[in-house]
């Protein structure tokens, strides 16, 4: 790895193994900007239309998103930001003190694999835009799980390869592009919504968002609310945003997540949903099959929209590939970060060829949250309850454990049961996140109480 890249990485990961000092803490403005940019991403082009495909009505979307996003903001504010500003450490460092280094490696693997599939979905989204000018690229629909042809595969391979190359060599450039593009991308989302209203000849969003006759309703208002609450569960309930919010001067900066939720996960999702609503009403598209984001955005706002889809996908996928590479490198410290990133990029590119991940994004995000978020409950118990109930805080650090079995059992048992139940009963996995999180925290608390009853510190 080049010295330049090493320096960049060190800058990104300052204070990885120590609390952030007061001099390095940042003001509220940077958090509002960061959240607004981070949650106006390529995934939003998929999620809005998926709501239409699932037959939700205007009330479900407008009210469900309002409730769910509010709950997500509260989670960021009163859980993540509170813990982050109290301990001022990264999730990984805090976990290492509780779980031991070896168990953190397992968490890293789960995290890295999930990141790869998420980035793969972004490759798929970007390919639907890049493929628009080429007649022989058959666009995937919501029901496609396998590659749609040779041309599609080639487009995904090229995009995934380029994203990987950039992730290996130029994380800083992507971070800059992402930061700069954010306000413009949000306006493109808004433009898509406005143009769709113009084409439909009405501004009555409630009427447009009513499901067309014959659509099968798969989720209602609570399904939408729980999805909005838990689609970023790994970040708030799962505490991965501790890595960011530990730089906040005050826990109240957690309110900044509202910028991401209400611009990205409210306005942008609704605008993206309007795109498919138009295609269903005016072009006769089957809502269950959907239409790929690229052609819909091109039809609405032209080449500017295609550029937005590519940039939105690229700027989301690139840091994700980079983080996945770091996670893999964390498991095998002797491997260079570049090698870890290439492995992550290769998995992501292969995943991107298969539309299954992007087209089932709502389900995938639910599984992702179910697996990763409960680990945050361990941190919450350790931080808020350990002294009160008399269990050891940071047990792995104090007892010199490399692998805390209590944490593994508390994490794996509820997650395993929940994923089995979701699979066998066919309900959406994002309903699992809250019960899993509570169960994980309770099991950890009870087991810790039993195994170390007199060791409270």
């Amino acid at each position: 790895m080049s010295d330049e890249l090493e320096t960049k990485h060190n800058k990104l990961d300052e204070f990885e193994r120590e609390p952030v000092p007061e001099s390095a803490q940042k003001g509220a403005k940077s958090f509002w900007g960061m959240y607004a940019g981070e949650h106006t991403a390529g995934t939003e082009f998929m999620i809005g239309p998926l709501f239409i495909a699932w037959g939700v009505n205007a009330f479900d979307i407008l009210v469900g998103l309002l409730i769910g996003n509010f709950m997500a903001v509260l989670s960021w504010r009163y859980l993540t930001a509170k813990v982050a500003t109290d301990v001022r450490e990264t999730l990984y460092f805090k976990l290492e003190k509780i779980c031991g280094r070896n168990l953190v490696s397992i968490y890293n693997l789960a995290n890295g694999v999930a990141f790869c599939f998420l980035a793969g979905a972004m490759v798929t989204v970007s390919a639907t835009a890049v493929g628009v000018p080429f007649d022989n690229v058959r666009m995937p629909t919501f029901s496609d799980t396998m590659p749609t042809g040779v041309a599609w595969t080639v487009v995904c391979l090229i995009i995934g390869g380029m994203m990987t190359l950039v992730a290996v060599r130029g994380y800083g450039v992507v971070a800059r592009v992402s930061h700069i593009a954010a306000p413009w991308m949000f306006l493109i989302f808004l433009a898509c919504g406005v143009v769709t209203l113009a084409k439909l000849g009405t501004v009555n969003i409630i009427e447009i968002l009513q499901p067309v006759e014959g659509s099968e309703k798969k989720i209602g208002v609570w399904g939408v609310a729980f999805f909005a609450w838990f689609c970023n569960a790994a970040m708030h309930f799962g505490m991965s945003d501790m890595s960011v919010l530990r730089f906040a001067k005050k826990p109240s900066y957690g309110w900044a997540s509202a910028a991401g939720m209400y611009l990205g996960h409210y306005i942008a999702w609704i605008c993206a949903a309007l795109l498919l609503a138009y295609w269903v009403r005016e072009r006769g598209a089957n809502p269950a099959e959907g239409v790929a984001p690229g052609p819909m955005v091109y039809d609405a706002v032209g080449v500017a929209g295609l550029i937005c889809v590519v940039i939105a996908g690229w700027t989301t996928a690139n840091p994700t590939i980079y983080r996945a590479g770091l996670a893999f490198q964390g498991i095998m410290p002797k491997m260079s970060r570049a090698t870890g990133t290439i492995i992550a990029g290769s998995v992501c590119t292969i995943a991107g060829i298969f539309p299954a991940f992007a087209m089932n994004l709502i389900g995938f995000v639910g599984v992702y949250g179910t697996i990763l978020a409960p680990i945050g409950a361990i941190i919450v118990v350790d931080h808020f309850l350990s002294k009160r109930v008399g269990i050891l805080s940071n047990p792995a650090e104090k007892l010199g454990l490399q692998f805390n079995w209590t944490v593994l059992v508390a994490w794996v048992v509820p997650v395993g049961i929940a994923l089995y139940l979701a699979q066998s009963n066919g309900y959406l996995p994002h309903f699992n996140v809250l019960p899993c999180w509570i169960a994980c925290g309770l099991i950890y608390l009870l087991m810790s109480k039993v195994t170390s009853p007199s060791s409270a510190q």
Binding site: G33, I180, I188, A191, V195, V301, G302, V303, A304
Partner: protein, 56 residues
């Protein structure tokens, strides 16, 4: 200062034409062309115009 002003104009070129299209004041193709101009102007001016924003 000039770059910042141009960047704001770029954002206006991105969002004003869709509203004009909604108000029947511009054709769809013309709207799309103006929006492309907005893309180029934004990416040409914003990186330098909002350097302070990046630094934060």
């Amino acid at each position: 200062m000039i770059l910042k002003a141009l960047a704001y104009i770029a954002l206006a070129l991105t969002i004003v034409p869709p509203f004009m299209f909604l108000g029947d004041s511009i054709e769809l193709d013309a709207m799309k062309n103006v929006m492309i101009a907005g893309v180029f102007l934004w990416f040409a001016t914003a990186p330098l115009g909002f350097r302070d924003r990046e630094a934060s």
